[in-house]
């Protein structure tokens, strides 16, 4: 009887784990909504053209979507899938990051060599900052004081002082930087280079390079190992790095910068998002058009979920 009660309690506790992963489908102009509990697509909503970067407001009441070919950032009500309004974004927004103030979006305008800062409340452009050719990766420090844009052809991380919206440093990285993230304490910045095949680690203070992560997978040609999106583990001890056409996610030890494991996922893996309890990691696989679910504890893939054509960005809603 007591056993039964325990089992009952467990099953009642399950919904707390539930949540959704929202995935942009670049070639379908839709977002797919995956139910974390059932691991099935429960909704598909239309978006503007070529949706890529995607993120939620802090209270998860708004979904921001980079509709690259519509030259706008769309604001969606995630409860209805309705597009509430568009934000001025500059041309060809590809990737963005929401500042810790929950108000300012820093947007990379890929075709324009510009980073646009948009106030999501007044729906106005606050600043435009000239950066290198093909800006893409966007990050903001946990204290909100520094924003980063990486430029794919200029091969730099551009450091933006968010108080003045001006550049205060430009640091070279390897070829075609795609994604940037600060560590949780804000002390370090990681930048992935797709063609260079590396991640460069900078000390935030002083913007000096302090480490380099390299990847080599047995049986995969070195020039197909192309790090793009990545996420740190909840405890910060590891980083999960999507390796594009190498079809693997690398597990990197953040203390030693050594790769501990490669996890096989779908074809051309781009970006990823955690489940609400951070026990699962969902990766978007562009070419195979699916999402791989990775069990974070065992670092094993447990399921593939078919979504739309060319899934790219991913965001979690509890």
């Amino acid at each position: 009887m007591r056993l039964l009660l325990a089992a009952l309690l467990t099953s009642v506790a399950l919904p707390a784990m539930a949540g959704e992963i929202w995935v942009t489908n670049e070639k379908d102009d839709t977002v797919s909504v995956i139910d974390v509990e059932t691991l099935e697509v429960v909704n598909t909503y239309p978006t503007g053209e070529r949706p890529r970067g995607v993120t939620f407001s802090k209270d998860f009441s708004r979904l921001y979507i980079c509709a690259s070919d519509s030259n706008t950032v769309q604001v969606m009500d995630p409860n209805t899938g309705e597009i509430l309004h568009d934000l001025p974004s500059g041309e060809d927004p590809e990737q963005f990051v929401l500042a810790p103030d929950d108000r300012h979006l820093y947007i990379a305008n890929e075709d324009d060599a510009v980073t646009t800062v948009v106030d999501t409340q007044s729906r106005t452009v606050v600043a435009q900052i000239n950066v290198g050719i093909e800006p893409e990766g966007m990050a903001v420090s946990p204290d909100g004081k520094v924003a980063i844009t990486t430029s794919e052809t200029t091969n730099m991380a551009h450091w933006i002082d968010t108080a003045t919206q001006t550049l205060f440093a430009n640091t070279l990285v390897d070829a075609r930087p795609r994604h940037a993230e600060f560590t949780a304490d804000g002390a370090a910045l990681w930048v992935s280079s797709e063609i260079g095949g590396t991640i460069t680690v900078f000390e935030t203070k002083g913007q000096t390079e302090i480490g380099k992560v390299r990847f080599a997978i047995q049986g995969v040609n070195q020039d197909l190992v192309q790090p793009v999106g990545f996420k740190f583990s909840p405890d910060g001890a590891k980083a999960f790095v999507a390796l594009g056409p190498a079809n693997h996610v690398a597990v990197v030890n953040t203390a030693t910068y050594e790769v501990e494991k490669f996890i096989l996922v779908g074809r051309r893996v781009w970006h990823m998002a955690y489940s609400p309890d951070q026990s699962q990691l969902f990766t978007t696989n562009g070419v195979s058009g699916d999402v791989t679910v990775i069990d974070v504890a065992s670092e094993e893939p447990i399921k593939s979920i078919k979504v739309g054509r060319f899934p790219w960005g991913a965001a979690m809603r509890p």
Binding site: E110, E152, T153, N155, I195, N221
Partner: protein, 397 residues
């Protein structure tokens, strides 16, 4: 007239000045990186169709787009890239123009035929300079006639025909026939097709020379089927017509319902307007905005040459040709060329190692090397002259 590169409107020297991006920070005195695009204009033979004239700015437009890319990075790094274009008329004095170019810059893109290139690289004034072949696919330039001061960003013709044959092998279309055009260039291209076919184990069962000397355009549907009727059965009909004279009239006019490949139909290029993936759309957009036409292989070769210089200058902090050459030939050099793999230089003959686009007019079929064609060093070295095949010794220190 539209096939002859026109000289009017092209100043002997066009200096391009592009404003540096605002917000750029200059931390140290700018390092000047002057570059020259030196072109020997080559008269083009008349062709049947008027549909696709050769653009006047072929190649040059690619260099101009890359210059802007370099200037963007340069603005952040304190490096000032500039480009001068010198175009020599068909009867012009190339050595004099080359001396003029070398007085301005030691980093020179060369656009012309193989003999023109060697006439420049062998000048006494050229000794310390670094040249980039952006136009000539000749094998000799990568083998017996290679030059230590000449790198190649245009793919060798053999790399293109190898890429095409890899696709035919992958499709298991192994029996081939070929129509060979009448000019020397046609013969050379046909020879590359034969050798690439043999390299990948394909058989050319029959060949026929193109002999029509009339304007066929009104009668292709009567003439070409009968002309191709004499060929033995085949999976694919190859056409060797690199100057684009008659090849377009072979498609869909063959006796047997067979795909056409080679210079027409399925063809292999260093770059094509149908490449979309790997961020290529951004480059295509930048190019079209600049030149108001699609980007071609020659434009891409010039773009990669200027970008290779930019990458080497950025990483070494030097504009010295010897330092840049050493860096480009080292393992550290890698250039993103929007083809999904890093572009590097082969250390044995200075050829840029790059994927080749196998395309039709509307879509990319694949980027070669095709999966399954392995190589002990780099799969891309399954395309073109590999180290043991090249007789180049100029790159051995």
């Amino acid at each position: 007239m539209n096939h002859l590169i026109r000289t009017t409107g092209l100043c002997a020297a066009m200096v391009l000045a592009v404003a540096l991006p605002a917000g750029a920070q200059q931390q140290k005195p700018a390092l000047a990186v002057p570059m020259v695009y030196l072109r020997q204009e080559v008269p083009q033979p008349p062709v049947l169709s008027n549909l696709d004239p050769i653009p006047d700015d072929l190649g040059i437009a690619g260099a101009e787009v890359a210059l802007k890319d370099n200037q963007s990075t340069g603005a952040f790094m304190g490096q000032d890239f500039s480009l001068t274009v010198i175009s020599v008329p068909p009867d012009g004095d190339l050595p004099a123009a080359a001396r003029d170019a070398l007085a301005q810059a030691q980093l020179v893109l060369l656009d012309g035929e193989a003999a023109h290139l060697m006439a420049v690289t062998d000048l006494p004034e050229a000794k310390g300079a670094l040249f980039f072949n952006v136009a000539a696919g000749d094998e000799a330039l990568r083998s017996d006639e290679c030059r230590a001061n000449l790198l190649h960003t245009i793919p060798e013709t053999a790399a293109r025909t190898d890429a095409l044959m890899q696709v035919l092998v992958a499709r298991q279309w192994s029996d081939l026939a070929m129509i060979v055009g009448p000019t020397a260039k046609d013969g050379t291209f046909a020879d590359h097709l034969r050798r690439s076919a043999a390299k990948f184990g394909l058989a050319i069962a029959g060949e026929v020379p193109w002999t029509f000397d009339t304007d066929l355009r009104d009668s292709t549907m009567d003439e070409v089927p009968r002309f191709t009727q004499t060929l033995p059965d085949h999976d694919v009909l190859l056409v060797a017509d690199p100057t684009d004279d008659f090849g377009r009239y072979v498609l869909h006019n063959t006796w047997l319902p067979r795909p056409v490949a080679g210079s027409h139909g399925l063809h292999a290029e260093g770059w094509a307007s149908v490449i979309e993936a790997w961020g290529a759309v951004q480059l295509q957009n930048r190019f079209e905005a600049h030149a108001a036409r699609p980007m071609r292989g020659e434009d891409y070769a010039a773009w990669t040459a200027i970008r290779a210089i930019g990458e080497a200058v950025t990483r070494t902090g030097s504009a010295d040709p010897a330092a840049l050459r050493a860096y480009m030939l080292s393992d550290a050099f890698q250039l993103d060329g929007f083809k999904g793999r890093a572009l590097t230089f082969r250390h044995w003959n200075g050829q840029m190692r790059q994927p080749i686009a196998v395309v039709n007019d509307r879509a990319l079929v694949t980027l070669a090397p095709v999966a399954g064609f392995l190589h002990q060093r780099n799969e891309t070295d399954s395309l073109g002259l590999d180290e043991p095949e090249s007789r180049c010794t100029a790159f051995k220190e």
